[in-house]
């Protein structure tokens, strides 16, 4: 299995009167572990959502696939449904089979769900209602759903914000495993130390592509100071 290569040309995005992204062009290699970094409000999530086809953008986005593309998305920590009595099991059944989730879970679906729960350490909590989960548990669930089916293109939007030390290490090793198996990983990550340690390539986004390329030559100390302190200076 090999994930897609992604080519972005002149990507722009305006929402209402505000210009969110301007003339962005970059490429991500097939099977790469690529990070988006940049200041808050710089447009990292918007760029990722353009790639997912969820934004009214202009410009070209091309995916080069050698095998059928399976996309998975781990969104930023979201508030989970509190009205419905929906358990972790129900939620994963919902995305795994066509048969209504209030009926029984098919055997094939159950195997996939069991494995995703095992991997993310949620097996003992499978009967918990999703509305009552802690931040870290919700993030584990969002990661678990991304494993069904095994994706060739994985988009992660700050998946570690609420995780404890053990959770962070678990997610890190899972992401590295998926990368090793050929999945193209696009990871929005604030933790520059982690980006430097794990990613191959990085795009620094602040409305435009500030810098793009291999991590070592792109995420230089000068760049880090320049981009990430700009907003602090502006505020001052």
């Amino acid at each position: 299995m090999q994930g897609p290569a992604i080519h972005v040309e002149n990507l722009s995005l305006s929402l209402g009167a505000s210009l969110i992204l301007k003339n962005m062009s970059f490429s991500i290699a097939a099977g790469a572990l690529h990070c988006f970094a940049g200041p808050n409000g710089g447009g990292k999530t918007s760029t990722a959502r353009c790639l997912l086809g969820q934004m009214p953008h202009t410009g070209k986005i091309r995916f080069d696939n050698s095998s059928p593309q399976i996309t998975a998305y781990v969104p930023q920590l979201i508030e989970m449904e509190r009205t419905l009595p929906l358990t972790i099991d129900n939620f994963l059944t919902l995305i795994t089979q066509d048969k209504p989730a209030f009926m029984s879970t098919k055997k094939t679906a159950k195997l996939l769900i069991d494995s995703a729960l095992e991997i993310t350490g949620l097996t003992s909590k499978r009967k918990y209602m999703i509305g009552s989960l802690s931040g870290g548990e919700r993030q584990r669930l969002l990661f678990a759903q991304a494993l069904i089916p095994t994706p060739t293109f994985l988009v992660l939007d700050e998946p570690m914000t609420s995780l404890d030390e053990g959770g962070s290490q678990l997610f890190e090793s899972l992401i590295m495993q998926m990368h090793a198996s050929g999945t193209t990983v696009l990871w929005i990550n604030h933790d520059l130390e982690q980006v430097q340690r794990l990613a191959q390539t990085v795009t620094i986004i602040d409305k435009i592509v500030v810098a793009h390329g291999p991590v070592n030559s792109t995420l230089t100390p000068a760049m880090q100071r320049g981009v990430f302190t700009k907003h602090i200076e502006e505020a001052a």
Binding site: L52, P85, L86, D89, L94
Partner: protein
């Protein structure tokens, strides 16, 4: 279908005469009403769980109001005023689609937008009904709002059966996708679900269900049966399966109870009101159970 209905009614009447089933089932209108209840109960129960998930509690009320306009238009173009299904379905589907179209183009929350449409549809409906009521001299407003499950005929049952079949064939295979789309549209889209399209499908389903039920149990009662059983079942459910099945059971029992209890005990309450009261009793009982039995308690905030 009429042959089937006749056969069914004769069979049950015979059983009532021989004492196998309660004597009350001797009457044709009671059998018709129970036949509707057996379809409407599970149908509205199941759809109600989705209505709650999508926070569209008052949508069916808005469609019910739109049905008023539908009836008025039907009278104006010469349809039978007792069953103007063509006008009702056409107008209400257009109304539902228009509401959904507007929803995806404003930043308003769903409940506020439904409120706007609800008021508009009631105003148009009430105005038109006043205008046409001079022609047909009937209480259209009352019959649309409160229906009459004891006067249903074969055509009403056919329409209901057809709508139930469509809902089963279209709604069940799409159930998971509809629910995921309402839980998180972004996740649903990534999984290849056409979120917008599926919203329209749901809107049209709820619309045709409401219209099919308006003549039988009335717009107000459709609303009640979509919400109260789901609310009652929510009190006692610890998962999606028990929630949906409990809702369907409570909804069906409410219909049966509402029809049979007043007849059996000679209580002078119309069946429509009685159905809601039975459902409300379920809600009160389950709320008490939830607050008394420790196993059901959840965080308050």
């Amino acid at each position: 279908m009429s042959v089937f209905y006749t056969w069914l009614r004769e069979l049950i009447t015979q059983l009532a005469i021989s004492g196998t089933v309660p004597r009350i089932l001797f009457y044709e209108f009671v059998i018709n009403a129970l036949f509707c209840a057996i379809i409407i109960g599970p149908l509205l129960g199941c759809v109600g769980t989705m209505i709650v998930a999508k926070r569209m509690a008052f949508f069916s009320q808005a469609v019910g109001n739109a049905a008023l306009t539908g009836v008025a238009i039907g009278v104006l173009i010469g349809e039978s005023y007792t069953a103007p299904y063509l006008s009702m379905f056409t107008f209400c589907i257009v109304f539902g689609i228009l509401l959904n179209y507007t929803k995806s183009r404003t930043r308003m929350s769903t409940d506020a937008l439904i409120g706007v449409f609800l008021s508009i549809s009631l105003a148009i409906g009430a105005s038109l009904v006043l205008f046409v009521s001079a022609r047909v001299n009937t209480h259209i407003l009352e019959s649309v709002m409160f229906g009459s499950i004891l006067t249903v005929n074969d055509l009403d049952m056919n329409v209901l059966l057809a709508v139930a079949a469509i809902t089963l064939l279209v709604g069940l295979p799409l159930y998971n996708r509809m629910l995921l789309a309402s839980l998180n549209a972004s996740l649903a889209q990534v999984r290849g679900i056409q979120v917008q399209l599926i919203e329209y499908v749901f809107i049209v389903l709820v619309t045709i269900i409401t219209v099919a039920c308006v003549k039988i149990i009335g717009a107000v009662l459709v609303e009640a049966l979509l919400l109260i059983p789901a609310a009652a079942a929510r009190n006692l459910s610890r998962g999606l399966g028990s929630f949906v099945y409990n809702t369907m059971i409570i909804s069906t029992l409410s219909c049966f109870g509402g029809i049979l209890i007043p007849m059996q005990y000679d209580i002078p309450v119309p069946s429509g009101g009685a159905i809601v009261l039975v459902a409300a009793a379920f809600f009160i009982i389950t709320t008490i159970i939830r607050n008394v039995i420790p196993g059901f308690k959840e965080a308050k905030m």
